[in-house]
Amino acid sequence: MSQPLRPDLQIIADWIRPGSRVLDLGCGEGELLDYLRREKQVQGHGIEVDDERLAAAIRRGLPVLQQDLDQGLRQFADNSVDTVVLSLTLQAVYYPRELLLEMLRVGREGIVTFPNMGHWRARWQLGVTGRMPMTDVLPHSWYDTPNIHLCTIDDFDALCHDNQIAVLERRVLDDRRRNTAANRVWPNLLGEVALYRCALRQPEEKK
């Protein structure tokens, strides 16, 4: 009865423990949340700012709160959920670093996925053709894109390192949404979508 999830969403779903509490930031029409509630008995809420997507998620019977992520998550208490998900949305917020830290305050773990600007096709477009990259995951022209904070996998790793964020697990999907051995060797070149499961480092782990 249920359609298979998109490969990136399936990886996120596999990372989430059954019966846990989840907050899905920028949940859209609630595809992931719907799956998690049905298949993993997750107690989940979505956050979505867009009117139409909000109504679509409500039509699905999902608990979803209308809120702009750029306003932060300050109304949510520390560790009030198990996992906070930010799926292909990091690049569209005004304050990605602050939001990432907020996610890891509200949730014990965070799952972040983003389009990798280090992917060879993006490099080719910018480096050889001299044009701003436009790909399947970044389909907009530079002048009307919601994606205002693009980064590469290496950039994100540096952000985590500088902010005491521990990367618990990482997957990289290539442009056919496959997770191949080559991806693991050259993630920043072959990965089109990067998926991270992370948490704040405990004080004693700090370098």
Binding site: Q43, H45, D51, E52, L54, A55, A56, A57, I58, R59, R60, G61, L62, P63, V64, L65, Q66, Q67, Q75, F76, A77, S80
Partner: protein
Amino acid sequence: MVEKIPADSVGIVSYHDLEIREALTLACGQSLPSYNLRYECYGELNAARSNAILLCHALSGDHHAAGYHSVEDRKPGWWDNMIGPGKPIDTRRFFVVCSNFLGSCKGSTGPASINPATGEPWGLDFPMVTVADWVHTQAVLSDHLGIAQWAAIVGGSLGGMQVLQWAIDFPERLRHAVVIAAAPKLSAQNIGFNEVCRQAIMSDPDFHGGRYYQAGTKPKHGLALARMIGHITYLSDDAMGKKFGRETRGGKQLSYGFDIDFEVESYLRYQGQRFVEHFDANSYLFITKALDYFDPAAAHGGDLAATFAQVRARFLVASFSSDWRFAPERSREIVQALFRAGAAVSYAEIEAQHGHDSFLLPIPQYHRVMRAHFERIAEEQGL
């Protein structure tokens, strides 16, 4: 007079009265020896009794939420744009009930009713009624109708507060709670406005300590003033600006006197006078007090999340961007407390220019969210 009853109207409707002969002990400690509840129903209750929706009305509302009492009516019920065949609360699927609360002047027992002990109108001797009392009497009505569990209970403003109280006091008796443009309690500013309204009424020379029925008068001026103040708080600065600006009445020159110069003055006076024709001043006093006293978290040391610990209903909370009477911030307090309590809650913050009154208007995004929500409820129940 309505030209023709529209196809998406519930049509010509009539009210019912439920006379309760048992005494009702109220939250204030006093009791009513007997009371009447007036209500209306739209649609058909299904055999499983699983399609019933209860509407809770606001300050000046009543049981007449949809349809027309006769073809002579100028206007349909107060929420006609929301309720009817094919409307967001679709009466082809749902059985909809709206009851008038105690203390009102619209048919349920209130201060203008006769006190059986004296044979005269109650006036200010009517016992103070609270939101919890209203909810308890609505539960009595539910028993009478044979509805063990409502598919949803829905209300805006003071109606939304009744929905919160329902979810707290009778967690097993509703599956969904829809709370629109409400607040978990009134702010000092809200209470302040209510007090000015009450003082306008009580300082009217025709008030006679609330015994104006016997004196053959009505505190018309005071009640009209109260309504004018209330009306300003229901609209936004923006909406008033768009509607009236600084237009003078009939485009005339300024009078340099104290008669009506501006359209907005004319409009407010007209609203005040219209209101006096169909509303009782004592009811206004009692209902605004019920608003002021509403604070379900007070019993839990002010902890709203603890107050919601037992709720079972799934919530939809909605607010309107330009509402400053019960601003979006107040709805977010409710949402966050429900979230902390582990309840399932959806929240829609709707862009609207019409202030608090938005909850009565057919704003596209508002109706889209309501339609989506009730379609889902119908689907869950196999309606």
